[in-house]
């Protein structure tokens, strides 16, 4: 049974491990361990604000999701989020449960009215976001450079809570 709880610092090494596995980094802007560690410092800072949730199975983290709470008052009613599910636990509904918990958490703790996301073209998670009611509001064709002349686009989606 999956349980969702607030992220603690000791969950973050699991996240680093998941991001280092296989080709998962193709869906993120980071390229190597140094960039992942830099990203973890940011994740940790938001986590201390209570903006990160961890999905747990048999007392082991299997997914993390983060709200990038806006630092500006005028923008504080909405924010971007990120979600990562352990490669070994994909296709088991963990992403859906984590997303539903994140939306509820955002609404209740941070009074969010809207969530938005950035996902790269070809990412199978797009189907999940559509199922959860996210709609596209923009796309940037050359966001990721995978090699000379080789790009992957970014799609931006949002949902009112």
């Amino acid at each position: 049974m999956i349980t969702i709880r607030a992220t603690v610092e000791s969950d973050l090494p699991h996240l680093v491990q998941w991001l280092m596995k296989g080709d998962i980094l193709q869906w993120f802007p980071m390229l190597n361990q140094a960039e992942i560690e830099d990203n973890m410092r940011i994740w940790s800072a938001y986590s201390k604000l209570g903006a990160s949730l961890t999905a747990e199975l048999n007392k082991e983290p299997v997914g993390l999701a983060l709200l990038y709470i806006q630092p500006y008052k005028k923008l504080a009613h909405q924010c971007l989020f990120a979600i990562v599910v352990a490669p070994s636990h994909r296709g088991q509904g963990i992403g859906t449960q984590l997303m539903q918990a994140l939306m509820k958490h955002g609404k209740e703790k941070f009074h969010l009215e809207m969530l938005h996301l950035e996902v790269y073209e070809g990412n199978p998670a797009i189907a999940l976001y559509q199922k959860l009611g996210f709609t596209e509001f923009g796309s940037q064709k050359r966001f990721i450079k995978e090699g000379p002349g080789l790009y992957r686009g970014k799609i931006m989606m949002q949902k009112h809570l």
């Binding site: 390229l31 005028k74 009613h77 009215e113 923009g138 940037q140 450079k145």
Partner: protein, 162 residues
């Protein structure tokens, strides 16, 4: 049109940036509301100036506008970046913005080898027509992005190939 010079931003230009942002009507175009929020933004702007990524327009030696490239920290996305622009309220509609954008594009392409630059503006910002004139095109529009008291505004995302 005024007689302009464009140079790299000096750390001492910070006082001009703060002065222009102290005009309440200017803050309408930016995400900041409070003094602390302005301070954070200005520090982040000046941080980029240390990489040579910020330009200042001067008129008779006095700063009248500034622009900054927010360089990306990750290699896969290092071929593009967002930028911001601010023109002294007394020098608006005199070609300062046009000159700064042209010079930022040149700096981005020749010095940082960027392939595109992008900007986020709020939907009622009159700079939109200038950006379109300078070859920017829209790649996204998000309704309800800004809430300023009772005013709710969308954001428009624009990019330009270099």
């Amino acid at each position: 049109m005024v007689d302009l010079d464009i140079r790299y931003t000096y750390v001492t230009d910070i006082s001009y940036l703060k002065k222009w942002l102290d005009v309440q009507s200017m803050l309408h175009w930016f995400p900041m509301t409070t003094e602390k929020e302005v301070e954070d933004m200005v520090q982040s702007w000046m941080g980029m100036s240390r990489y040579g990524a910020a330009l200042t327009a001067t008129c008779e030696g006095i700063p009248c506008g500034m622009g900054v490239l927010f360089l990306m920290p990750y290699k896969k996305v290092a071929h593009h970046c967002a930028f911001m622009l601010l023109v002294d309220p007394h020098y608006q509609k005199q070609g300062v913005g046009t000159s700064l954008i042209k010079n930022l594009k040149h700096l981005a392409k020749t010095y940082f080898h960027l392939e595109l630059i992008h900007i986020e503006i709020y939907e009622d910002n009159p700079i939109l027509s200038l950006l379109l004139k300078l070859d920017f095109h829209e790649f996204g529009r998000q309704e309800g992005f800004v809430k300023e008291e009772r005013l709710v505004l969308g954001r428009i995302l624009l990019e330009c190939d270099l």
